[in-house]
Symmetry: C2
Subunit: 258 residues, 2 copies
């Protein structure tokens, strides 16, 4: 397919690369600041643009991968004179119908993954959650996504926003916990890599157990001695203490729930 | 070595199994309730006991893997008439010197991992943090632990408690985040396995990036629209809302820190 990529951030970079490697043509890469598009476009054998006036009107699909509030701002101009073309966005928490007043055929491709530009990922095992405003659009998106992933699923806007919320807990908040662990070790000049086998196993357990069954540590044992001593170790860091208390309380609540 | 294992919980089960497989003799397994010892002992070709009066006096090492407050209670009786034997505990947050008034040779073996009885783990890559009250004890523990792990390190009590604290963040709190994600999906009848590639990648990133650099999501972008809509999705669940707000704020704080 001939694809225009609107955005050049983490997600656009990885999705663009996967589509390019699957043999699709990424005709243009748009970013508001020309720098991002100019870094990404050459990797995709594509043309960088930073003005929407330079955007082609004849692409088979326009994939919009922008920060949510920017997406809302840009839509009217983006869809003008292209209201018969296919548009999709890639945002977990934005309903598909955001396109409705601007174009006739539209949908969503939401790859459920955490993307950082500097880290390569294989798209093959990434769930691609798709939605289309017609059966035809769903079929097109299904074919497109199957060219990059083995796990393509139709998911409604209503479900997708809850999946996005769960992803914030399972990925973003999890990564914050890693960051806080790293901070604690750094203050003592201890190496973070010590924790890697533990972190790997904590994630790996979920392939064979529920997270509730996998819970270990002082909070689930309600070992108050340990918890109080650990709070003391956090010293004057009230933010970390509040987080420690709140998360420990929640672990204990869940473990005693009937 | 001839080993008496005091405790039959998650850690005792896995450490006992690794030592047994490395060719050591686990002479006895003690647990307060006979049930746990009777399940574990046969797997280790060992004798289950539930009375300390039945504990042998001639083992080369007594490995105490008990809940922290139970350890404190049991020590006087455990060490009586065995004050020349080698004792170690396995707790992250208890100083080595807890043994000082009861025995002459003592130390710590702290395997930095999350253990659940029903899940097999390979000890080879688990960091075993050891400490001894003499060079001789350190050497004995080093030799013993090298028979089960490739990563044996001497770590002081002062450092070990911070490593344990970091492990609570990196493992226990992380697993809570998984549990809350699972809860959100379950309420919508959506399958948890959807999140597994995301969870795996979030952990895997740490092998090539710092967690601070790996952070993604609405909080680090400070995408208030998304955060407010996600809070709405949590409805009346004030606990989850408080956790969402506190962790998002912390992500934002850390990302804007100079």
């Amino acid at each position: 397919m001939n694809i225009c990529l609107i955005g050049a951030g983490n997600l656009a970079t990885h999705l663009g690369r996967a589509l390019h490697e699957a043999g699709h043509c990424i005709c243009q890469v748009y970013s508001r600041t020309s720098a991002s598009a100019e870094i990404l476009a050459p990797k995709l054998n594509s043309q960088p643009i930073c003005q929407l006036s330079a955007l082609r009107n004849d692409a088979d699909i326009y994939i919009v991968a922008l920060k949510d509030d920017v997406l809302h701002q840009i839509l009217p101009q983006l869809c003008r004179h292209r209201s018969t073309q296919l548009f999709v966005h890639t945002a977990g928490s934005i309903p598909m119908d955001v396109f409705r007043q601007f174009t006739q055929t539209y949908g969503v491709i939401y790859p459920l993954q955490t993307f950082s530009k500097q880290r390569a990922v294989s798209f093959r095992h990434i769930p691609c959650l798709i939605e289309g405003n017609s059966k035809t659009v769903c079929n097109v998106l299904n074919t497109l996504c199957r060219s990059i992933s083995d796990d393509v699923r139709e998911v409604s806007s209503a479900d997708r926003k809850y999946i996005h919320l769960a992803a914030v807990f399972g990925c973003n908040f999890t990564n914050l916990c890693y960051t806080l662990a790293a901070e604690i070790l750094k203050r003592r000049k201890l190496p973070f890599e010590l924790l890697l086998p533990l972190i790997d196993e904590t994630a790996a357990k979920l392939h064979t157990m529920t997270p509730a069954a996998a819970q270990t540590g002082p909070a689930v044992r309600f070992d108050e001695h340990v918890m109080n001593r650990q709070l003391e170790l956090l010293g004057n860091d009230d933010c970390l203490k509040d987080i420690y208390k709140m998360l420990s309380r929640q672990i204990h609540c869940l473990s005693t729930r009937p």
